[in-house]
């Protein structure tokens, strides 16, 4: 079973992602802030990360910056953010992340993107 790290500070949105991924037979793991996500990425191996941008303790972009600086290998990343500004999408691209899903997400599109990133379709 593939392990997916969900980095999301909103409890309801976390529950939504968690339930959907669990239903799809993945093993989701929760990180409610950027620092917690950083520690988990360093200590465990994941197949995919679903990353929010506005997060307590360390924002999504700060996390990406830190991982890059410390040369820490990461699995594929999908950004799921409620920020619909083009500048953030541009910034994501600079980190080499093409998959930027704007909230509210469409579940079918979300599942499709997850499967594509995991190389299942």
């Amino acid at each position: 079973m593939k392990k997916i790290l969900i980095v999301e500070d909103n409890e309801l949105n976390m529950k939504l992602f968690y339930d959907i991924l669990q239903y799809q037979k993945y093993t989701p793991k929760k990180a409610m802030d950027g620092l917690c996500a950083y520690n988990l990425i360093k200590s465990e191996k994941f197949d995919l990360i679903i990353l929010d941008i506005q997060l307590p303790k360390m924002t999504g972009f700060e996390l990406l910056e830190k991982l890059k600086k410390e040369n820490i290998q990461t699995p594929p990343i999908i950004i799921a953010s409620a920020c619909a500004m083009d500048s953030d999408k541009q910034k994501a691209k600079e980190f080499g992340i093409e998959d930027y899903i704007t909230k509210p997400i469409d579940i079918n599109n979300f599942v499709k993107t997850v499967k594509q990133k995991l190389g299942e379709i």
């Binding site: 959907i20 509210p104 579940i107």
Partner: protein, 410 residues
């Protein structure tokens, strides 16, 4: 000549240092003038006052005699064109036989100078030199006054310039303030959009999860309510997007990232998103998805154009209506049409509907809220794609929006 020049220089000093409105000034001038003549001559000056002309002051042997009652009627001379008159007067305390009066017509209040000889007749030489002297003094005073007027005007102009500069500063400050306000507004809109999207994600996500029945079946009523939640959420999302988009367009912050895309796939995705809306009204959406067009467009914005037009078509088409989405090419142009058989738009509104905040009164617009920004945004997005949008519509027959995109076909 030396004495004359020296005297004129002194007169210059007097003009520059005393107020030409004052009697003092004229007395000083008289004093200097009298130094040019011997003791047999006396000099005087007339002022025009409310009571008539008045020999204001006269000088003889360096002594001033003020407000002397001049007995001779020179009224005619005041009004005619003569430059001077010569009078033969009776013996008198001050004035003797021969008198020359000349006009100094530079100021309304100053009439002129006079010269009186106590013994001799006033010779032609004296006469012409006196007239020349008065003329020179007249010009000097005129010059000075013009200079004063010029100085006042210059000062007024300088003040006007300073005032204008101050106004310009105010305008500049206001402009800067407005720019800052605009920035704040856009930041606020971006933030509010973020804050509204976060809970909307849970609402749409959970209702979609329930609707897909992955966690179990729903009874008929539950299924209906879930659809209602989804419809309202999509409507809310549409409005949030419109507010964000118009602020981006106004701030020129709309990024345009065209890339190669399959238009059929992009259109089909939008149709799928809007399915709950048109199915709810049992509207038939017809789209031939068997031909593929590769176009150079911004994926998200291309979809948004279609989303706006299709959701409008659904809104303004009655139950069991029909909407067609047609793709075609013409002379290397890509053409996209959205055709409905809804309530149509009156001709008088055809130009207005692309303007901001325009609402058309009809049976549907009353029952559904909207920002009035959808079509103005759509028009701008079409423009970004080097296209133009037009419409054909007839009341109660339906509306067709046609977009012609130049050079985006690959």
């Amino acid at each position: 000549m030396d004495i004359l020049n020296k005297s004129l220089n002194i007169i210059d000093d007097i003009i520059n240092n005393t107020n030409v409105q004052n009697l003092d000034f004229y007395e000083n001038v008289l004093k200097i003038m009298s130094s040019l003549y011997d003791k047999n001559f006396s000099l005087g000056i007339f002022f025009c006052e409310n009571t008539g002309y008045n020999l204001k002051t006269a000088i003889k042997n360096n002594i001033f005699i003020k407000n002397y009652n001049f007995k001779y009627d020179i009224q005619d001379f005041l009004t005619n064109n003569q430059k001077y008159i010569e009078l033969s007067t009776k013996d008198d305390e001050l004035f003797y036989k021969n008198t020359l009066i000349t006009k100094l017509s530079i100021k309304e209040s100053v009439f002129g100078f006079m010269i009186v000889s106590s013994n001799n007749q006033i010779t032609n030489e004296i006469k012409s030199s006196f007239l020349a002297l008065v003329n020179i003094i007249s010009y000097k005073i005129k010059d000075y006054e013009l200079n004063e007027v010029f100085k006042i005007q210059l000062k007024a102009m300088q003040e006007a310039i300073i005032e204008k500069e101050a106004m310009y500063d105010v305008v500049k400050k206001q402009h800067k303030k407005l720019q800052e306000l605009d920035k704040t507004k856009n930041l606020f809109l971006a933030n509010i959009s973020h804050e509204l999207r976060t809970p909307l994600n849970a609402i749409i996500g959970f209702s979609q999860a329930l609707d897909s029945k992955i966690f179990g079946d729903l009874n008929e009523k539950q299924a209906e309510y879930i659809k209602d939640i989804q419809i309202s959420s999509l409507h809310l999302l549409g409005m949030i997007n419109e507010i964000l988009d118009i602020s981006k367009l106004e701030a020129n912050a709309m990024k345009f990232n065209p890339a190669k895309l399959n238009s059929t796939q992009a259109i089909q995705e939008v149709i799928n998103i809007l399915e709950p809306l048109y199915q709810n009204k049992q509207i038939k959406v017809i789209f031939k998805n068997d031909c593929n067009y590769e176009i150079n467009a911004d994926y998200q914005k291309f979809q948004q154009i279609l989303y706006n037009l299709l959701s409008n078509a659904i809104k303004f088409t009655g139950k069991n209506g029909k909407i067609e989405i047609i793709q075609e090419t013409k002379n290397k142009d890509y053409i996209l049409k959205i055709k409905d058989n809804g309530i149509g738009i009156e001709k008088k509104y055809h130009n207005k509907i692309f303007k901001k905040f325009v609402h058309i009164d009809n049976i549907y617009s009353k029952s559904q809220s909207s920002t009035g920004l959808g079509l103005p945004i759509t028009k701008e997005l079409v423009k970004l794609h080097n296209g133009k949008i037009t419409l054909e519509s007839e009341l109660n027959k339906g509306t067709t929006f046609t977009m012609e995109f130049k050079k985006i076909l690959l």
